[in-house]
Amino acid sequence: MDAQSLIARRIAQELRDGMLVNLGIGIPTLVANFVPEGIHVFFQSENGLIGTGPVPEPGMVLPWLTDAGGKPVTALPGACAFDSAMSFGLIRGGHLDITVLGGLQVDQRGLLANWMVPGKMVPGMGGAMDLVAGAKRVIVAMQHTAKGRPKIVRECALPLTSNRPVDLVVTELAVIGFPDGQATLLETQEGVAVEDVIATTEAELAFAPELTKPTLPRAASGAASFPPVGDAK
């Protein structure tokens, strides 16, 4: 299984019956492919729909029914449509159980940067700031490193998306949470050693009790020697 699918599959295990879930573009979109059997999840598309269905058959495209990227989709039975104020009322008002977003950097305390790289990429925050500020649970789906550099860092060099910490970061190597405001390794993906996670993480990691403690002392892992970030993908 490729890295992206590994991440999406693990995040899908966080879904529960009846939840309202918003999936960002990129890896988060793949989560919909791994919904556990027997549960019904409402997927919200922030352009104004709950109940987005798969891509339509040829000849069945309706120009007034797309995903947030403008690509044609279908609607499932029981779908509902609404305006952008309602869409973000659902997000900001605490009705959204989970938002799954991509990330550029996540810091030690769980703060996320995912919407701009000054001078290089300024797409606008779109709905990201509302999603992180408003969702009941924020899950970041991202590769553990970008071009060999860690994305889980001591402090974000990139502009923050919110002052509200995320709840979970899932990468192809690990699952990291932030109990008591401290980045904590909760699980490693199958076949990944704790040491591999430490070696590719700049942030100081705490460890969940059920994890085997690393054999290398943290100071020896060389995390501090990573080059400064700023052009993460």
Partner: protein, 215 residues
């Protein structure tokens, strides 16, 4: 509500006006109105919209034609022309979180002075904004937005001007239909009064000023 020819509707819009334009990545944007703005070369415009779509789509056409002085939007990531004009200093781009943008427009149409949202606190989006504490929690005060004209796309309009929207083409349209001095509607379908049930009307007829006549 009056029916009006496309060219006459756009002729009313002065150079330098502020427009709200419905749509989300072009979906639900009144394309005929956008095309006519380009044809009549209405320039120096400020556009309030969700995004600048992509080149050749919706508001992207106004960007490419260099008719815009300023945009107030949540996203420009899929339009390289916007980025390029912004970096060249030719276009002012005010980026606003999408939910904040939607509520600021709604506030303008609903007679509210602004909104109090926690979105953006602790980020660069809070710069220059007043913080207000309510019940011990901080919120940003984001002022209401209004425009001279709203260009609205509807799926169905009845002869009185009652509007219904289709699926994800709804987005900002009903909010903008409340928030501008003059509201111009382009509808995919125009139907007799009574065809749309009262419970299905999203925008009440009295807020619509002009409905573009079918060709």
């Amino acid at each position: 509500m009056r029916t009006i020819k496309l060219e006459d509707a756009v002729a009313m819009i002065p150079i330098g006006a502020t427009l709200m334009v419905g749509g989300f990545m072009g979906v639900g944007t009144p394309e005929p109105l956008v095309d006519e703005l380009v044809r009549q070369q209405k320039g120096d415009l400020t556009v309030i919209a969700n995004d600048t779509a992509a080149p050749g789509i919706g508001i992207g056409k106004l960007i490419t034609a260099r008719l815009l002085r300023r945009v107030i939007v949540s996203h420009i990531g899929l339009n390289p022309d916007t980025q390029q004009q912004m970096l060249a200093g030719e276009l002012q781009v005010d980026l606003v979180p999408q939910g904040t943008l939607a509520e600021r427009i709604r506030a303008g149409g609903f007679g509210l002075g602004g909104i109090l949202t926690a979105t953006g606190i602790g980020t660069i989006a809070e710069e220059g904004k007043q913080k207000i504490a309510v019940d011990g929690r901080d919120y940003l005060l984001e002022p209401a937005l209004r425009a001279h004209f709203a260009l609205v796309h509807a799926f169905i309009a009845d002869y009185l001007g009652n509007l219904q929207y289709a699926l994800t083409a709804r987005n900002f349209n009903p909010l903008m239909a409340m928030a501008a001095d003059t509201v111009i509607v382009q509808a995919e379908n125009i139907v007799p009064v009574g065809v749309v049930a009262p419970d299905h009307v999203v925008t009440p007829a009295p807020v619509v000023d002009y409905l573009i006549a079918k060709g």
